[in-house]
């Protein structure tokens, strides 16, 4: 097209300009909010950062009385419980997604997905409550003895069986994130064209082989779902606080109580004694925020990469 031509552009009415900019302002508020949250946490953790520097992440000494703060046990607890959750949840989630999208009949699929959707919306405090009163005793009386008697030679399954602890937290988290990961896996599978599966069947593939092919094609989206689930697990507060045991220690055994970043904030923030204590808790929060921010960005990009193409 030649640039000399006159372009016809309609004039916008004042009301339209105002309204568009009004919605823009609100939209930018969201962006501003996230920026503001990061800045605020950065500033408010200054005291702790100046005092402890990088050592904050590597020290496992958390003593509010002596005003010594190191976040390693919390980082450890968060990472181990979340990875444990992901490890348990991922195969189950994928299996459940395949079950719902490829195996089960349509008439059953809708009510079951609906059920999972509802259950995924149960507040985490209830998971924690149920964890304390039903699941932890079950772990103590049934699961942990079995594990110890069969796999007790491994360091992970040694020690006293309290019921609460890393393993219990990991399993509760797994229960909580499975609906999320399996829902995204289902969405991603839906985005894979049916023609691919039909082509596989035409070649004489078994049902599982066709499904496997779809799963392989959807892998980056599924990975995105897994990472998103990991992000949820890392940030989950109440359920973990109620079952992880809340003890700032690093032990090899998954039966041992531990502590997570979110839990220490939940437990100590309101009663934090000095400004350094508050600042250290905010630094824990800042690390948590940074980690979930990166993880969620990654997850979204992976998910977009599959669902956008479709």
């Amino acid at each position: 097209m030649e640039e000399s031509r006159i372009e016809i552009k309609s004039k916008k009415k004042l009301g339209d300009i105002l309204f568009e900019n009004l919605t823009l302002i609100f939209a930018l508020m969201i962006v501003g909010l996230v920026v503001f949250i990061s800045i605020e946490m950065y500033i408010d953790s200054a005291e702790s950062r100046e005092r402890f520097g990088l050592g904050f992440i590597f020290s496992s000494n958390w003593d509010p009385v002596k005003e010594e703060f190191g976040a390693l046990p919390f980082i450890f607890g968060t990472i181990v419980s979340s990875l444990l959750a992901l490890l348990i949840s991922l195969p189950v989630s994928i299996g459940a997604a395949v079950f719902l999208s490829e195996i089960v009949h349509k008439s059953v699929r809708t009510p079951i997905s609906f059920l999972i959707e509802i259950l995924a919306a149960i507040p985490s405090i209830i998971y924690g409550f149920w964890g304390i009163f039903v699941f932890a005793p079950f772990m103590r009386n049934t699961v942990q003895p079995i594990l110890q008697s069969t796999l007790g030679f491994l360091p992970f399954f040694k020690g006293t069986m309290y019921g609460t602890g890393l393993l219990t937290a990991g399993i509760i988290l797994a229960i909580m994130i499975t609906p999320i990961i399996s829902a995204i896996t289902r969405d991603v599978l839906k985005a894979i064209p049916v023609s691919q599966r039909e082509a596989a069947y035409a070649l004489g593939a078994t049902k599982w082989e066709a499904i496997k092919m779809a799963l392989l094609n959807a892998r980056s989206g599924i990975l995105g779902g897994a990472v998103l689930g990991l992000g949820r697990a890392i940030g989950e507060t109440m359920a973990v606080t109620m079952v992880i045991g809340n003890k700032a220690q690093i032990m090899a055994s998954l039966f041992e109580p531990a502590y997570s970043m979110a839990s220490v904030i939940a437990n100590e923030f309101a009663e934090a004694s000095g400004s350094l204590h508050v600042s250290s808790l905010i630094e824990v929060g800042f690390i948590l925020f940074g980690v979930t921010f990166i993880i969620n960005s990654l997850a979204r990009l992976l998910i977009y990469s599959v669902t956008r193409k479709a």
Binding site: M1, R5, I6, E7, I8, K9, S10, K11, K12, K13
Partner: protein, 273 residues
């Protein structure tokens, strides 16, 4: 048709594109009108004069730019971010850029391919949607307008007992006539119709064609159609588009009996398309 218009019509028959047309008889004029979607050509350099109180049909194979042309006449491409429109458009002699788009669209109404009544509104509210959304609330006036326009669009007898029921409960053909009633209730001067009957059954189609015929005395109508018989039945003039260009524009009768261009002839005789 009155004697007078008949006469102009005859003069015109000699040479349609001749500049002797009285400006006042021209409803729409486009000069080098081009539309691009990103870098892709939609239509290019369309020069056309649409006469007042006539039905102008636009025909051509799918994808040739009929809708693109029509939608540029009321600046509907505003809704397509990647569309860019070049050239000049005059509505009743006034450059379209001198209007603001909202006021311009009150003069240039549009009926769409698929009937699109507002689903949350009743039959009644749909007819006067344009007025109501712009703040007119006086019930006595609105009642009158609803009745008048539903009568005008030939729907009154069918719906007068169910004015309050949701518009989507009407049949497709009724919905389309409702959309026409909705369009004429804002008193436009020009009505653009993009394949208004392509989603309808033959009976509804003939009702709408009849309606178009009746509307002609009050409005200028530009209608896109895939159906050449329809173009022949309802229009006074026909424009043939091909690959984004205006190939031929002349009196409908001439177009279907004695076209100037070979391409036109091939198309109207069904050799391609």
């Amino acid at each position: 048709m009155t004697e007078e218009t008949e006469e102009i019509e005859d003069k015109e028959e000699i040479e349609i594109s001749e500049e002797s047309d009285k400006e006042s008889k021209i409803a729409i004029q486009t000069i080098d009108l081009s539309v691009y979607f990103d870098e892709r050509k939609g239509i290019e350099n369309i020069n056309m004069k649409v006469r007042k109180n006539r039905v102008t049909a636009i025909i051509g194979p799918s994808g040739c730019g009929k809708s693109t042309f029509l939608r540029s006449l009321n600046l509907m491409h505003d809704m397509t971010p990647k569309a860019r429109v070049f050239g000049e458009i005059f509505i009743h002699g006034e450059n379209i850029t001198n209007y603001n788009s909202v006021d311009m669209r009150k003069k240039v109404g549009m009926v769409f391919q698929k009937p699109n009544p507002f689903p949350t509104m009743s039959v009644y509210d749909n007819v006067i949607a344009g007025l109501k959304l712009n703040g007119m609330t006086k019930k006595s006036i609105l009642d009158e307008i609803v009745e008048k326009n539903l009568k005008h669009s030939g729907l009154w007898e069918e719906v007068k007992d169910r004015l309050k029921s949701p518009a989507v409960s009407l049949s497709g053909g009724q919905q389309q006539r409702l959309c026409i009633a909705r369009t004429i209730s804002v008193n436009p001067e020009i009505i653009l119709m993009d394949e208004p009957t392509s989603a309808l059954d033959p009976i509804s189609t003939s009702k709408i064609e009849e309606l178009i015929f009746n509307l002609k005395s009050d409005y200028t109508i530009v209608i896109v159609t895939h159906n050449m018989q329809q173009a022949a039945r309802v229009s006074d003039q026909t424009a043939f588009f091909y690959l984004g260009n205006l190939i031929e524009f002349s009196k409908t009768r001439r177009m279907f009996t004695n076209p100037k261009e070979k391409l036109t002839e091939e198309y109207v005789t069904g050799k391609f398309g």
